[in-house]
């Protein structure tokens, strides 16, 4: 049986959405004129945000990770860390906020392909015809920056960020760092990065590669995350079981008990809620 995502929403959240304080009361106007052409785009954007199963992980219309805080996506190589993180980024971009995607192992072109591919699949899934137009409006909200792993350092990142912010080229609202090596010496740099995130008041997401042969640390977290777990507020793991990849909250966010589990659809790499007999 297939279920619509909005049906899978908990009752209290539906109620909260209806009584959102920022929504004008019927009959009043915010004074903003929405052009006819824009309206479709705005409706489409809202629709995509509402339908996004990611919202189950966080607060309504808010980021899963707060400003100045760290989030991590953990999985073994090839399970779908980048696919998940790109969807987190797209969700932020849809809300008109800017994402700085820093990749330490892929060139700009390859990261861009990830985004295009996920957007293309989202368009197919939600049967959106005019995705190109939406993509054109989203693209200015993303900037990809790549570093060589060995060349990545805090001063370098700060210098690049200053280049961007001082000239008002790009003011990130979220930073993603993909491919950062979580080795035993990572703590000092991560700490410094956390300070930087605090100064900029932006959430930072990391991808963490785990390995099949490694046993979890004493606290039950993967060995890569355990030594630095104090710095992270949220950790989400991708757990392949059989042919399904489950999205599990390791730390910081909880999925409501009543909810069907979140999964990464192996065919499309899109986030879905799992319902009986398949994914919705």
């Amino acid at each position: 049986m297939l279920k619509l995502d909005s049906e899978a929403l908990p009752a209290d959240r539906l109620a909260r959405r209806r009584s959102r304080p920022d929504r004008p009361a019927p009959g009043t106007s915010t004074g903003r004129v929405i052009r006819l052409k824009e309206r479709n785009l705005i409706m489409l954007t809202k629709d995509l945000i509402l339908r996004n199963p990611l919202r189950l992980l966080g607060q309504e219309n808010e980021d899963i990770v707060g400003p100045g805080r760290f989030g991590a996506v953990l999985a073994r190589a090839g399970v779908g860390k980048t696919a998940l993180i790109v969807q987190i980024a797209l969700n932020t971009m849809l809300r008109g906020r800017k994402v700085l995607h820093i990749s330490l192992n892929e060139p700009v072109g390859k990261v861009d392909i990830w985004y295009r591919e996920v957007v293309h699949r989202l368009a197919q899934h939600y049967q959106v015809n005019d995705m190109q137009q939406l993509w054109d409006t989203m693209l200015p909200h993303r900037l990809i920056m790549t570093f060589q792993v060995e060349g990545f350092s805090l001063p370098k990142l700060q210098e690049r960020l200053t280049d961007l912010t001082a000239q008002n080229i790009f003011q990130p609202d979220m930073i993603i760092i993909d491919g950062y090596p979580f080795d035993p010496e990572a703590h000092p740099l991560l700490e410094a990065l956390k300070d930087l995130a605090g100064q900029l008041a932006v959430p930072v997401w990391f991808t963490v590669t785990t390995h099949r042969h490694e046993a979890p640390a004493e606290d039950g977290l993967p060995v890569q995350l355990s030594p630095v777990q104090d710095l992270f507020d949220v950790a989400i793991a991708l757990q392949p079981k059989g042919e399904t990849v489950f999205i599990e909250a390791l730390k910081g966010c909880t999925l409501p008990e009543a909810q069907p589990p979140l999964v990464l659809d192996p065919a499309t790499m899109l986030i879905r809620t799992q319902v009986e007999g398949g994914v919705a």
């Binding site: 006819l36 052409k37 060139p107 700009v108 072109g109 990261v111 861009d112 190109q132 054109d136 693209l139 200015p140 900037l143 990809i144 920056m145 790549t146 570093f147 060589q148 060349g151 370098k156 210098e159 690049r160 200053t162 280049d163 961007l164 001082a166 000239q167 008002n168 080229i169 790009f170």
Partner: protein
């Protein structure tokens, strides 16, 4: 005419601007004894490199037209096409690659794989040209050939493998170690013409063994014989190893990398040996033509002199003796006095004089055999035409020609210049399909269009030098266009029934945006409300409106017109009336469909030292550019962005001054996108001013 086609090589030398390919060609010509003195590209002797025969090329130190040249090396005939490195001349590179069997990809050992190398590599892939790589400038400070090999692997996805290792680098660069023969090669004499073959220096022995191991490892993929020898620990012979590498190169699965310094005369002769040993002869390459009698089904051509001739004109030049047509014979042969047919025009013509080119000099030859490249005189044709033996209906596949993105109005200074200008324009547009020219009906101005500022600049300069036509140029114009954003319905009656023969036609339907084509006309009329004979007139009426949009008079694109109703009059309806009705309907409905102006957006890739990254990003941002990404490459950094073409004029100068000349950029068309409101208003103002001026 040599009969052994296996001893023929048609090769190109492609690379990023300033990686030294013209210098390399100069050395090749010297060692093959085509020239007897070496002149440097920007040499103090003022002679300039042999291949840069145009005065302008010598002055600017860039190669503009691809000059073909012929030489011999160890009993083999080699045709070399020297290709331009600047992106504005990409059509030249594309045309050269179309007729080549193999190529040398020249890379700078300091700059490595640069943006233009990536473009050239794409083109090589498109035409399936096998290549070997030459890492030049190993004498420069910061030279790192192994980093370049890594970049070939990572950035261009080549299975690159070193064929040599350098003996010393930078100022200490003395020669190379040949990993196939395991010998150290030193280049002695004033011009490096004497090669001294010595034992590998002891300090390099271990490194050489290691790289040879890697080379053999990569080559085993292509030869069972070699694999067996390696497994059985039998000695690997030179022939065995070269055979395996050649097989890999021909499949485009392996890119052997040579190194040296053309400027310092090091490593060029081994590269020539490699051209013979590793690159394909015309016999090793499959070339296809399209059969016009079988719905353009592809046909494989055989490089056999006995078969009917199929040849392709790939470049035209207008010299002092008339039009010179560069031609490659794919099948059969071309002989003086032969009659051939130009497939495009169907015209018969007789081959008068055949020559073999050597930069700007030539030697007469009686015939061109299969696979050969030469030139013929006195043939009137366009670039890309196919010449065949009468009775053959094959045509070579058409070449990819990009649409021009920039226009410039030019005006001759006096009457003499006017005559010369038209002569020059006629020749240039025939030679270069990306260069177009037309006269604006309204302003009477002559407009030239091309692929970039430098492209047009060079032609204007050539007009002045070669034709003494002095022209003044207007500001460059961007090719804007209009489109609609929503569906709108029309119902229009064209009626003129007062005195004389009347006109009547009614058309109804809707227009809507469409992305599949520039213009689609969809006839959904049922019940004969618009009689069938008037439907083409309706279509024509709408189509004629596309050339000039009602909004700002730019061409209209991306429109689907659906005609679903209408009316006619038994006496007063005519083709003319329905055309007028369609025109009227379009003008009426167009504003309702929310028209917008679009402008060409260019993908601009800037390669800059990392310290200038901020400045460069700022400069792109100022130009309404959207930065897509910044890629860190150690000392260098690559910034990808999308910038409106209208903002890119003069950017080369700005970039140079921002970065002390250390950065370079490439630009290619990406998409048409809506012009922001404020800019659209500015454009509207300019259009209105221009209209007033004309009036």
């Amino acid at each position: 005419m040599k009969t052994n086609i296996r001893h023929l090589r048609n090769i190109g030398i492609s690379a990023h601007i300033d990686s030294g390919k013209t210098t390399l060609t100069e050395r090749v010509l010297f060692y093959t004894q085509r020239i007897h003195a070496i002149h440097d590209v920007k040499g103090k002797d003022g002679v300039g490199a042999t291949m840069d025969s145009m005065e302008l090329e010598r002055e600017r130190g860039i190669t503009i037209a691809s000059a073909a040249t012929y030489c011999q090396w160890k009993g083999h005939d080699i045709n070399i096409i020297d290709t331009p490195g600047h992106v504005d001349f990409t059509i030249e590179v594309e045309r050269s690659l179309r007729v080549l069997d193999g190529a040398i990809l020249v890379l700078c050992s300091v700059g490595g794989v640069q943006s233009q190398s990536i473009t050239v590599d794409h083109q090589m892939k498109r035409y399936n040209v096998p290549c070997i790589a030459f890492v030049n400038k190993c004498d420069r400070s910061g030279a790192s050939p192994f980093r370049v090999i890594e970049q070939l692997k990572n950035k261009l996805a080549h299975n690159a493998v070193a064929m040599q290792i350098p003996i010393g680098l930078e100022a200490d660069h003395q020669g190379v170690v040949d990993l196939v023969r395991m010998k150290a090669l030193y280049f002695r004499g004033d011009n490096g013409e004497t090669i001294e073959e010595l034992e590998i220096p002891a300090e390099l022995r271990e490194m050489a063994d290691e790289y040879r191991e890697q080379l053999i490892d990569a080559a085993t993929m292509f030869s069972d014989e070699l694999t067996e020898a390696v497994l059985e620990e039998a000695p690997v012979t030179t022939e065995m190893l070269l055979g395996a590498i050649r097989a890999g190169v021909l499949q485009r699965q392996l890119t052997p990398v040579f190194m040296g310094s053309a400027y310092k005369n090091k490593g060029v002769q081994p590269l020539l040996d490699a051209v013979i040993d590793l690159l394909p002869s015309p016999k090793d390459v499959i070339n296809q033509a399209l059969d016009l009698n079988a719905e353009e089904a592809p046909v494989n051509l055989q490089p056999d002199n006995a078969l009917p001739t199929v040849s392709l004109a790939f470049k035209l030049e207008d010299g002092q003796y008339g039009q010179l047509t560069y031609i490659r014979v794919y099948q059969g042969k071309l002989e003086k006095g032969d009659t051939v047919i130009n497939v495009r025009t169907g015209k018969k013509l007789k081959i008068g004089r055949l020559v073999r080119m050597h930069a700007d000099q030539m030697e007469d030859i009686p015939a061109l055999g299969s696979g050969a490249i030469g030139a013929m005189f006195g043939v009137d044709c366009a670039s890309g035409d196919t010449f065949v033996t009468p009775g053959v209906t094959l045509t070579m596949t058409s070449m990819y020609v990009p649409e021009p993105v920039i226009s410039l109005a030019i005006a001759p200074k006096d009457h003499k210049s006017e005559i010369n200008m038209s002569k020059a324009l006629n020749r240039f547009s025939k030679e270069d399909p990306t260069f177009k020219t037309h006269v604006n009906d309204e302003t009477g101005e002559t407009i030239i269009s091309g692929m970039g500022e430098l492209h047009l600049d060079v032609y204007i300069e050539r007009m002045r030098r070669e034709y003494s036509a002095i022209v003044t140029t207007g500001a460059p114009q961007v090719a804007y266009r209009e489109t609609i954003t929503q569906r709108a319905e029309f119902d229009y009656i064209h009626k003129k029934q007062t005195g004389g023969s009347g006109q009547y036609g009614r058309v109804a339907g809707y227009i809507e945006p469409c992305s599949e084509a520039d213009f689609i006309f969809d006839n959904q009329v049922t019940g004969g409300s618009v009689p069938t004979q008037y439907i083409p007139a309706c279509e024509k009426g709408f189509r004629n409106c596309m050339a000039k949009g009602p909004k700002l008079e730019f061409p209209v694109t991306g429109i689907r017109v659906v005609l679903n109703d209408g009316a006619s009059h038994s006496v007063d309806s005519s083709d003319m009336a329905f055309q007028a009705a369609a025109r009227g309907a379009f003008i009426e409905v167009y504003p309702k469909a929310k028209p917008i102006v679009q402008e060409p957006i260019m993908k601009v890739v800037v390669e800059t030292p990392a310290e200038y990254q901020g400045a460069v990003m700022g400069s792109l941002n100022q130009r309404r550019g959207m930065i897509l990404g910044a890629q860190d490459e150690g000392v260098m950094c690559i910034i990808e962005s999308q910038v409106p073409l209208a903002e890119m004029f003069g950017y080369a100068t700005i970039l140079r001054s921002l970065t002390q000349g250390k950065a370079q950029f490439t630009m290619e068309f990406a998409a048409y996108k809506q012009v922001p409101q404020s800019i659209a208003e500015e454009i509207a103002k300019k259009v209105a001013e221009k209209k007033q001026k004309v009036a």
